[in-house]
Symmetry: C2
Subunit: 213 residues, 2 copies
Amino acid sequence: MTDPAAPTDIPAADLPAKSRREQIHDVASRLFSERGYHATSMRDLAGELGMQGGSLYAHISGKEDLLIEIVNRAARQFDAALFTLRDVPLAADQKLREAMQRHIRVVADNMESATVFFHEWKHLSPGAYAQVTNWRDTIDAFYRDLVMQGIREGVFRADLDVKMAANLILSAVNWAYTWYRPGGNLTPRDVAEGYADMLLLGLRAPVPQEASS
Amino acid sequence: MTDPAAPTDIPAADLPAKSRREQIHDVASRLFSERGYHATSMRDLAGELGMQGGSLYAHISGKEDLLIEIVNRAARQFDAALFTLRDVPLAADQKLREAMQRHIRVVADNMESATVFFHEWKHLSPGAYAQVTNWRDTIDAFYRDLVMQGIREGVFRADLDVKMAANLILSAVNWAYTWYRPGGNLTPRDVAEGYADMLLLGLRAPVPQEASS
DNA sequence: CCTACCGATCGGTAGG
DNA sequence: CCTACCGATCGGTAGG
């Protein structure tokens, strides 16, 4: 009948068998990002997975642990993307391009957990909350160091306010979680390159040099 | 006894008598911004005002009406700040400076309601939700028009992607709600001027023109 | 993973 | 603005 070599009962390559734990994590990311942490009930979550509310507790220890894991995993993705860049010998403008590209890619590839990360971390209990604020400080420091490097090397304007420049860069890459649409016509790379061009060169047209024609 | 002209029993100028309705609105803005809409109970709210949960309903008609009013009031502030600027005859770069200053001022002067606005509008029921998305579109359009004006006038680079430029500007002014601290050493004007300088001129140091000394 | 249940708390109302 | 209450729903557990 059908080709005996056809692997019809093997999961498609893009659908590797996910552990139940992983499925719960994914659905929680989606629901928390769409409705918010407190507006999502454990029964909502269980319903989407075709099980009863109480059954979730065979796989997880509590609602907050789900939030902690989503937030921590997002934080680790940003870490992995940026900190390998710290000591790469690139000029500051090139390093900024690369950092923005990686940063935006993490946001774009994880829109749901990024949204949870930015909106729901305030609802963590003190321990996990403190971890996130510390993490945020290290990301801020990464971009401030990058700006300082650029000034030191003469690649960036000497009169930049380091903190404000870092804030401006962070605004651009973080705010993407509010408007980026993964299926659209802009890749994360397009956004990062466009943003980096505008940030590095400015919006204003260059003053026309007296043309020597 | 005391100077009869001294208005000692008149509320201080900075503490005008606020209606109970207004007090509820203020406390709700604070609690919703700190804890989120769904994590704030009507009893929390009443407790901060020294009353019982049920008593709130003598002044308001429901929890969501509070959220709607906070969000709508914030939207109206942005409107009032930006739309009076639409037809002002300023060059695009100057208009951008002014718009950013006004936009950031609205955020800075209303940190709590701005936070509620950006985080909680998704929890509105369909009618109010649609109003907010429409409003967001008009703000986007304002900045896109501004960028287009600048390109048309030759003030901005001709190769700008209008949508991305508008997004970058919006990122800068909106993200301020996450880090600005009203008591700090930066006024909204400082932030707006610094951001506008960086956006207009770029972070990169000008290429050294062969000095004609 | 289900059934059945726990105490706690929710937004909101009735009647005063 | 309070007391007392409503039905609904919450996160989580026991026992299987």
